[in-house]
Symmetry: C2
Subunit: 292 residues, 2 copies
């Protein structure tokens, strides 16, 4: 078995597992939480689809597991949930803990090319290659999960992660959604700082990791199965860190289908926003995973 | 206006308010959170029923507001929610902060008679007299709340609080429910420590604040409108701190109606347990408040 189980908790009729495993990609232990709904557990282990949730800056797998309430609708529909961590931890790299918006808990879910981060900050490879291989192949947990039916979602930096991993690895995920994503990181302070630190000064290289750039390159009538919610009371939206309007413009110019951006009146950037629409994002995934 | 508003947050279509007010009863500022569902807000302020939630040991109003998930169903049904604090804070009494299960954040929702707590630890009077008077009479928030339709619930120490305030003040609340309540505090270590410290050595005096004792004195066929959930994986249940079997025995011996105790297989004492059944406890209250 690949995972160490730190806790097993009964919730919403299913089983929440707090796990850790040694990652070859990041060269560190990686924490993650996994929720198995009742449909996966009874009467015998049954493969159910999986929704991966990527967290925002400063978060661990715990925050959304406790406050996001994705379990509520996932339990009813028979969808497993996976909350990976936001970066490797424990590498003790110079500058890794100097800021809350760069380094530890702020990986931006890319493979860094710049030192000292290039060694372990390979979250794109970790999330799209190693973690699925280890999880779906695990003798304890693999039998509960259908590796052919996976969707992805995320919040803020994790919304950026979900949108870009989906667009970079078409076919790996059946659908994507995001809450308040950093939708055009090449053009906002958070993204510029992160991409410069992880990828270097060449702004052309950044475009391969920018949801707005990637969406703009989709083909006409491509069904992107993408749901995005942004609160109009979100201070980071107001400060120009999220730039959903650029994402929408790219979708329109490319002429893609299946793109939905909703501005939610008065909602902020917090888990109170996400919990309010968690049911709907689970349903969006469930629809594309054949559960609805 | 009686309250200072520290935050206003849009969530589940309604408004979450983080409030504080000076209490004459406790002689301290008292924090509380209030959730107004959409039905209270549109098109003009409309009076809706209220469910009061009392928190457990060590908690503030924040824990359950973030992790309890009561807003989900309350929003749909049109029920306001109120999370008071677990004790006065800032009195700086000797011994007040020496333990996590006595003193600050551990009031047990009674009026203390023993010094040094008798001065400010008067949570029963605060919750049943002062807070309703101030809240329902408030010119800003009063017009959203129907003071004739109030129910109460709580967790652990707050479950004890909900059950006892309901049974001591019949008519004040339309129904009661509890998650993993300290159901017979006179007979468990947590309760014995608290009652000795707040009420003194006379065990006879403790009975007036013990849900099992109070339920045992109800009249035959009295409909107590009481729902209690306890997880079978709850370590505090296993350690004999909760004693729901004594509550059930008292209900049976008294011959009351409307008493439901459910053992939930595998659930622990955490917010993961409460969130799983929050919808159902909100529905229990809503039924007795005329919303279902």
């Amino acid at each position: 078995m690949s995972f160490t189980t730190k806790a097993t908790i009964t919730t919403f009729g299913g089983r929440l597992l707090k796990l850790s495993h040694p990652s070859k990609t990041t060269t560190t232990p990686m924490a993650l939480n996994l929720y198995l709904p009742p449909a996966a557990l009874v009467p015998t282990p049954t493969r159910v689809p999986l929704l991966i949730y990527l967290s925002g800056l400063t978060c661990s797998p715990e925050n959304c597991t406790e406050k996001g309430f994705f379990q509520h609708r996932a339990s009813q529909l028979g969808l497993a949930l996976l909350w990976p961590d936001t970066s490797p931890r424990g590498l003790n790299l110079p500058g890794e803990k100097d800021a809350w918006d760069f380094g530890e808990a702020a990986s931006f879910y890319i493979d860094a090319t710049q030192e000292p981060f290039a060694g372990g900050y390979k979250m794109e490879t970790y999330l799209t290659k190693e973690l699925p291989e280890v999880l779906f192949g695990d003798e304890e947990f693999g039998e509960y999960l259908d590796k052919e039916r996976v969707s992805i979602t995320g919040h803020s930096m994790g919304g950026h992660g979900a949108l870009t991993l989906y667009l970079k690895h078409r076919g790996l995920y059946k659908s994507v959604s995001a809450f308040a994503p950093i939708a055009n990181p090449s053009q906002c302070p958070w993204g510029e700082k992160a991409f410069k630190g992880y990828l270097g000064e060449d702004r052309e290289a950044w475009k391969a990791h920018d949801a707005t750039e990637l969406l703009g390159k989709c083909e006409k009538r491509d069904n992107v199965k993408m749901l995005v919610d942004v609160g109009t009371g979100d201070n980071f939206y107001k400060q120009g860190q999220l730039l959903p309007e650029n994402l929408e413009k790219a979708a329109q110019e490319a002429g893609v289908e299946g793109f939905t951006l909703r501005y939610q009146e008065g909602y902020d950037h917090s888990y109170y926003f996400m919990a309010s629409f968690a049911d709907e994002h689970v349903e969006h995934a469930a629809k594309h995973l054949g559960l609805l």
